[in-house]
Each structure stands twice: as C-alpha cells, then as structure tokens.
Symmetry: C2
Subunit: 411 residues, 2 copies
Amino acid sequence: MTRDEASGAGCDPADLPRHPRAYPESLPVTGAWQPGDEVGGRLFLDVAPGRPFALEGGGVLDQVTMAYETWGELAPGADNAILVCHALTGDSHAFGRSGNGHATPGWWNGVIGPGCAIDPERHFIVCVNVLGGCQGSTGPSSIEPGTGRPYGSRFPTVTARDMVRCQAAVADHLGVDRWLGVVGGSMGGMQVLEWGVMFPRRVRSLAPLCTAVAASAQQIAWSAVGRTALALDPRFRGGDYYDAGPGDGPAAGLAIARSVAQITYRSNEVFTERFDRELVNPRAVYGPWDRFQVESYLDYHGAKLVRRFDANSYLVLNRSMDLHDIARNRGSLESAVARFSSVPVLTLSIVSDTLYPTVQQTTMRDIVRAGGGRCDHHVIKSPDGHDGFLLATREVGSHLAGFLREVEGNG
Amino acid sequence: MTRDEASGAGCDPADLPRHPRAYPESLPVTGAWQPGDEVGGRLFLDVAPGRPFALEGGGVLDQVTMAYETWGELAPGADNAILVCHALTGDSHAFGRSGNGHATPGWWNGVIGPGCAIDPERHFIVCVNVLGGCQGSTGPSSIEPGTGRPYGSRFPTVTARDMVRCQAAVADHLGVDRWLGVVGGSMGGMQVLEWGVMFPRRVRSLAPLCTAVAASAQQIAWSAVGRTALALDPRFRGGDYYDAGPGDGPAAGLAIARSVAQITYRSNEVFTERFDRELVNPRAVYGPWDRFQVESYLDYHGAKLVRRFDANSYLVLNRSMDLHDIARNRGSLESAVARFSSVPVLTLSIVSDTLYPTVQQTTMRDIVRAGGGRCDHHVIKSPDGHDGFLLATREVGSHLAGFLREVEGNG
C-alpha cells in the first residue's frame, strides 16, 4: 500500500501537503478514504440484452455491458440516489481504496465519503464506467460478439448521449426513477448536462462542474494533438494492437497524449511552485536529453496512465468530448437548455483553469438563467487548474453539500 | 506570389482582415512590405576561422558559419545599428518579400519597414540566423568538417549565450561596436537579455519582448512534450535521418511538435472566434477521424513548418530555450541583471499570452528596477496570445518606435 492509499484524512484534507517539491515519492494526495471502509464492489449490467444498441453516430453494438459501483443504500422512497459521472481517465471507482481490481484510490475521495457532500451514510451513490471505457464497461478492448476478437479499430464512435442512455439503463435496473442529483466534472459534467436535456424528469438537480455546454475549438485542438501523437506510435497499428502481444501497444503514444493533457490540467503557477527549474540530476545540464524535474513528472504520469488505461478507450472518449455539444440536432442551445429549466443547476469554476476557463461556466449559467432556470455559480480560488475539480475537495465539497442539502430540503 | 506576399499596407495594417473564418485560403496577413523593395540578400560569415568554437555546454564546433541579412546603411558614426533577434522558427529574413530563397515573407514586416519603428531609411538593421538553425547558419543539418556528413545527432547543445557570441562576431565584422538597440521577442528576447549580461557596453538599449529571464517549468513542459513526440516518429532515427532519402525525415513528429506549440502561441479567444466548432465537412461528423476546422488549421501549420524547417534544428533550438536562464553560473538573477543596469530596457506583454504570461515580464521589470535600472513595460490588448508579438505590429511598433526615438535622442 502506498502513502496515498493509506491516507485517511476524512473530509478535512487541510493537513495534507499540497504541493511537495520532492518527486515522485510524494504525488499530490487526494484520497480521504476512511480505513475500515470496504472497497466498493464492481457490478455488471447487460444493457438491453438480446437487442442491438444503436449509437447516436450511427454505429451499433450487439451487446453492451456496464460496470458500475454503488455505495450506501437506496432509501425506501428511492429519493436519495446520486449519480456521479467520471471524467476522461476516471472509472466507476469514485470512492474507496485502491487494490482489489482498482488501480487507484477513489478519484473523488473527500467529496464522497462519510460526512462529505456525497455521503454513503445518507445517499445511495452510483458511478458507472462510461461506454467506450476500459474498466469493465463495453469498449474497444471488449470482445466483439461473433468474432471472438477485441473491437480495436472497429469500435464505433460514442457520444455523451450514448453514455447517458447506458447510465439510464443502470438507473432502471437499480430502481432509481429520479436522481436526487447527477454530478460530475469535465467529461463527467458533459454527461450531467445531457442528463438534463435527455431526461429532465429523471433529475432533481444537476451539478455540471468545470465543464462546458460544448467543447471549444481550443479544447478540440488539445484533444486532436494528443490523438495524433498517439496514432503516430508505430505500435498503435491503426488501433488493432491487442494481438501484438502483451505490453506491445502504443504506450509511448498514449504517454505523450497524457503529457499534453496533464499540462493543460494544471497551471503555470503550480508548475513553478512545484518544479521551477530543478534538474533531475543537477550535474546533467547540457545533454540533449538531460531532464528537468517537470519532464520527469510528465513521464511519470504518462507511464502511470499507460498501466491502467487502454489507448483506444482514450481515443474514443477523447473524441466523445470533442463531439460534446448539447445543441447538436436540437435546434439551438437555448432550446436544449429549456428542457431542464425547472431543474436547479450548480456549476463551479477553478480560477486557474485555462482548459475549461470560467467564461464557459458563466456562459452556461447565463443561458440557464435566460431560459428561466436556476444556476448557481461559484469560482474556487485554487491554483490547481482544471484538476482543481479533483483536488480542491474541500471547496468543491462545500459548495456541493450546500446545494444538495437545499435540493433534499425541497424534496 | 500569394496574397500574403503581395500585400503592401505599409505600417498601417488596420485595413487587413485579422481573423477571417475561411481556411486555409486566408491565413492571417502579417506582411506589410512595400512593393518595389528589394529582398534582403543573405550574407555569410565564417566565425573565428581556423579556430574551434567552444560552446557553453562543453561541445566544440570546428567551423561556424553565420547567415545574416542587413537592411539600410550603417551611418558614418556607426550609431544607427539595430540587431533584430529571431524566435524559434524564425530566421534572418525579418523583413521583405518571400521568394528568392526565402520561404516566407519577413516575419516582422510592419515593425520593420519604411516609416516603421525599425526603419531601413534611418537604421542599419541586422538579423542573424541563430547557431543551430537551418537557414544558412551552422546547425545539425550542416556538414561536419572532416566527416563529409551532416551532424545529425552529433550536433552539440547550444544556448542563447552561444548564439549571442556568434552575433557579436557578426557585429565585429560589420563594424558595429555598439548597437543602438537589440530587439526581439520570445526566444529572440532571450538573446536580447544575454546581450545585456554578456556585452553591456555594446548595447545602448534592449527590447526583450514577450520573454522571460528564465524559462518556466510550464514552458519546459511544453517543449518537452513536443520534443518527445518528435522523437517518437520512427523516421526520426535518433536524429540521423538525413541519409534516409529526400522527404524521409520525421515530418509527422515535427508537425505534432509544431501543433502543440501553435496552440500555446494563440488564445482560446482567437480559436473560438476563428473556428468555433466548424467541421471540415459538415456531413462528416461521427467518424473517428472526421475533423473540425481547428484540426485542419493545426495540420496546415504543421505541414507548412515541415516544408521550411529541420527537425533537428527544432530540437536544438527548443532545448536552448529550456536552458535559458540569465542567472545560470552567475551567482544570482540580481547580479546578472546588474550587469546592464545602465542600459534602458523596454519589455512588452500580450494580455492574452498564456505561454509567456505578463507576470514574467513584470518580474523582469521589477528586477531591473530593483537594481537601479530602467525598464519600461506595456501590456498590449491583443487577443492573439503569444503570437501577438508578431501579429500586433501596430502596437508593438508604436511602443518600440517611442522607446528607440528616445534612446536615439539621448545618443
């Protein structure tokens, strides 16, 4: 067990070091899981068994499995269920320890937990690995029925709308007619917004955090350059690399895509504070490939992702983010937002987030309000950039707790 | 001749379209060259003939050639000479048309030109292709003496200090004992600062624009990811790709490095204004590699750079930027800056520049002033991001003109 996994600071992570300089022994500690809690067991659901699942983009999947986890218990009135939607490289393990099939601790420990905003002692919490993912749900590495081989390059394009339809099937299965809240940041927030447009009567509140009503040109540009780099890796083999042998996939390419993303997820301020111009080896300065600490950091995060994530899933989910646009084929942004005008919305911005800048969340807020809806908006003064929605658990949790309590009170 | 090259708007580019939506027929027009001007002829100087040239990093070059261009005439008192230092993918062709050996029009047309801040009718203007470059100066694609083969991977690490020593040799050759001004943005600004520290008595003024006293962790991170992507290209062959056959170099890898850089050079605002979510083909939406216009833009700029730039030069110059730190081996930043405390300094920021954010230039200003020096600082309200130092020619030229005139008046 690493130090991360053993940490148990409950919902008060203030005593944890935020940006230790030494690396990589002390990665940022985001976990706040309580020792003694059980690891959430992963469950599986066959969505629409026996029927093909038609995707928004025109593709068809003959069989769709959703992997999900739950924490807490559904109340007799089924009015305490919260759906947590994960971001690009997240999975269903939003809460708990690592180990037992989970490569990392819960990605939202500290927002989810006993006494936290989303509380397994009060709420029935559900998190579903998205369609196209690689942590149990159907994705490019799944076996294509009838072929006995992984989909690879044949896996179809999926969108946030497809993901939400799969999540709705899980809700049906679990007996959740209406979520108390649907909550998520970044790519997760895209799903939250689609829940509002697609199933407004199935949601009592929405919390799309650090996200946008549509991916911007700059966001698409960052995605594109990462995907192009990944595909340049000769081991990518057009996406059909699963038969090439264990470990012979496009690890280098995926690591580069991750590095690009990792820089956009953080901020200039944090990079300067943590790494400044420190060298890996202070005596190795002038070699063409001598390295600064920040390069080592990028390599480390690239290698870490490669160990737990499939390159094809990265491409598929990344592309779904580029395609995110709640207005597509719905006439206008206004008419899409009008669908959930009776549902209270909370959105958050991180002041240092240059990837999903505050203007995207204020745009969302203004459109919701212009349509007669309610949208609360807060800016969190964290230096952590886009990753603030994962790291600033105290501030995110505080705003979310207040919002959810009010929604619960109005039940 | 393209539309860019034919444009002749003098120093008033206000009537040129700034951000046309259609693409790629209408790239941003930065040229302001006057028809009838001659293309600057490229000249060559053998630096320290017969003697090895020892580099800061420990490498040695047996022969060093500098390619440079000049415009205007050196005054009898040799007091009107301005050195213009180019940025990463620039070259000596700071002013003039394209054609006749120049792939692009002068990169600072509009700042340089008749009636402009830097005026060939009043000034003797010099621009030197940097050491490590690929436009005539010695670089990785040059033939290594005694081997008959290009250096490739054997080309040593160079720093801004090495570049400046080569420029000083050109100054000696041209009879310029003291520059009226040394001027440049981004990587060019790094050389400007090194001129101040290394040769304070040879400069009457310094204008390091949109640059920093040392590369930041985030800037290093962006460099690193581009270089790693370039090296992933199987055609890179560790840097020894020149013998592989014409056009068989790491074009795809260099294009990715360029794409990464291109996004950091611009701004979210400009990308949204120019491209938003427009598709290359509005009917091709859901294919895994269907493209948005912004992707086409990145591809175009990648391909354009590949046609005129050597991948090894890109790596060498990029690395020199990471190594930029005027304090290195000089005790402290303060003691380095103290060397040019009697030289007036002008620096500029672009408000939307997230790669070289304003805080870097205010830091520079504050350190110069704390040491008793003079540093003027202005923020230009351009949406063009870091590239604003190339594109906002009117504003850059205006500040530069006022600064240089004052220095000239104090001659």
